[in-house]
Amino acid sequence: MRVYAVVAAGGFRRHATYRVATAAGMFTNTVFGFILAYTFTALWDERPQLGGYDLSQALTYVWIGQALLMTTAMMGGGFENELMERIRTGDIAIDLYRPADLQFFWLANDLGRAAFHLLGRGVVPMALGALAFDLALPADPLVWVAFLCAVALGVVVSFAVRFLVALSAFWLLDGAGVAQITWLVGLFFSGMVLPLTLFPGGLGTLAQALPWSALLQIPADVFLGKHTGWGLAQAYAFQAGWAAVLLTAGRLLQTLATRRVVVQGG
């Protein structure tokens, strides 16, 4: 267990090294936050209460989206490119000899990365957004705690999806195509483009049932106080359920894949 804590801390520290990049990223998240906030304002001016949100809730949704974009890796990015590269080059053989489980190792690493991005690229844009717009920030500290739990579960779901994508490189060698399609789908169905409650009819139902809704829609709704009591438990169960299913799938695929490993020149 201790080894994974060290790996997570390593993931955190590694991303913390890139200070200028983090500052630049903060800037980008803030710029996009402003642009989206204005378009959402125009939309909610026409239709107040759209999707069950009032204007300040909709604006809060925008800034949560910017804060979580890197945290739950909605556009991909993170460990999966590195893991795919290690599979392609054969370095994966070294990883398999390590006294740590492949899936847990990278999960710990990704949790560290996510924690850094939440602090490094989430807090400042959110604070600037709160200064410039009237946001619906929860007064109850318990809601903030509930929100952080939902974010953590969202990160695990996101990890589980990207782990599957990375393992596809065992078969495809070049997993870039799969990765690209996954981040496209993920970005759209996580609710980054528009809250999933605005998706019409069947598309909306589907979008809210897919794992990606755990990445932004659910944490945002927890933050906005849409899930309380029993509803909160249900939201967590949805996230945890997808995490369990996807992690198990990753586990099976990992077993299959490692049986296939043929070390070049070995």
């Binding site: 890139y18 200070r19 200028v20 990049a21 500052a23 630049a24 990223g25 800037f27 980008t28 710029v31 996009f32 402003f34 642009i35 204005y38 378009t39 304002t41 125009a42 939309l43 026409e46 239709r47 759209l50 070049d174 870039a176 195509g177 690209q180 399609i181 496209l184 970005l187 759209f188 483009v193 528009l194 605005l198 998706f199 019409p200």
Partner: protein
């Protein structure tokens, strides 16, 4: 690392430009050949690029499934903004989109390799990993523009007809200048390619919506400071016969080519200053 007299010093400005364009063409052609070695992979990447940008428009359609107008503009009008911004940015991204890799080259020292070649560095960086798959974005923008032009009821005059291609080309040059200026900035802040993204990708996202959506100060900023409004807002409002939200003379709509030229000159100057200040990694 000090530079010896390279091609740039011998040829003079016109010869330098010609050498640059020629080098760009050759490097780009090389990358196209190498991409085409894996046709299926290329087709997937281009399709992915097309779909990625297409989802933006799907988002817009979803918005308009709830409202009839956004900032006072109808879907076909917004599609006109969307299409012109997308096509202009797509063109700039195709030609100059590789510029954001400069920071990495400064960090790992591979920029040195480019400096010793007798070819303008800007052309080498811009053509590096030339990605034809970016045609996906242009195609998507042009399709949306085509839809807008079909549905919109515009009282066409020869001037308005001319305005559309001129605005896309000038817009592309303005965006390309932002790419070059952003790259010049990376000579100092090597990790800051994301700052560039906020002006390029962020700029396009903003220009996809009508200016009435945004706060006056923001509109002022992109009109008078970073002149993104000249990419499409000002000329498009002339074509659509709508007033500009700021109190500015209407002939500003005809300025895009001039503004584009000015941006080019400024970006070129920034690039030269950046390149001159470059110190290689290590000792």
């Amino acid at each position: 690392m000090s530079r010896t007299a390279g091609a740039e010093d011998v040829l003079g400005p016109v010869g330098q430009l010609r050498a640059g364009v020629r080098a760009y063409r050759m490097i780009a052609a090389m990358w196209i050949r190498s991409t085409m070695a894996y046709r299926a992979s290329f087709a997937m990447a281009a399709l992915g690029n097309f779909a990625a940008t297409g989802l933006d428009f799907v988002g817009l359609l979803l918005m308009f499934s709830h409202v009839d107008a956004l900032g006072g503009y109808t879907l076909p009008e917004v599609a006109f903004f969307y299409g012109t911004a997308g096509a202009a940015f797509g063109l700039a991204d195709l030609v100059m989109g590789s510029m954001d890799r400069l920071g990495r080259r400064v960090r790992d020292g591979t920029l040195d390799t480019l400096l010793v070649r007798p070819v303008p560095v800007l052309a080498q960086i811009a053509a590096d990993r030339f990605a034809l798959r970016r045609l996906g974005r242009i195609t998507q923008g042009l399709l949306v523009l085509g839809y807008a032009l079909m549905v919109l009821d515009i009282a066409w005059t020869p001037l308005k007809v001319l305005m559309v291609p001129v605005m896309i080309l000038s817009g592309a040059v303005i965006f390309a200048s932002v790419f070059v200026a952003g790259a010049a900035f990376q000579f100092w802040a090597q990790d800051a390619s994301e700052v560039q993204n906020s002006f390029t990708y962020g700029g396009t996202t903003m220009l996809q919506y009508p200016p009435t959506v945004f706060a006056k100060d923001l509109v002022r900023g992109v009109t008078f400071v970073l002149p993104l409004a000249f990419v499409n807002w000002l000329p498009a409002l002339y074509v659509l016969d709508r007033p500009y939200p700021l109190d500015v003379p209407s002939w500003l709509a005809f300025l895009p080519p001039l503004i584009a030229g000015g941006c080019c000159a400024l970006a070129g100057a920034a690039w030269r200053v950046g390149l001159r200040s470059y110190r290689s990694t290590g000792s």
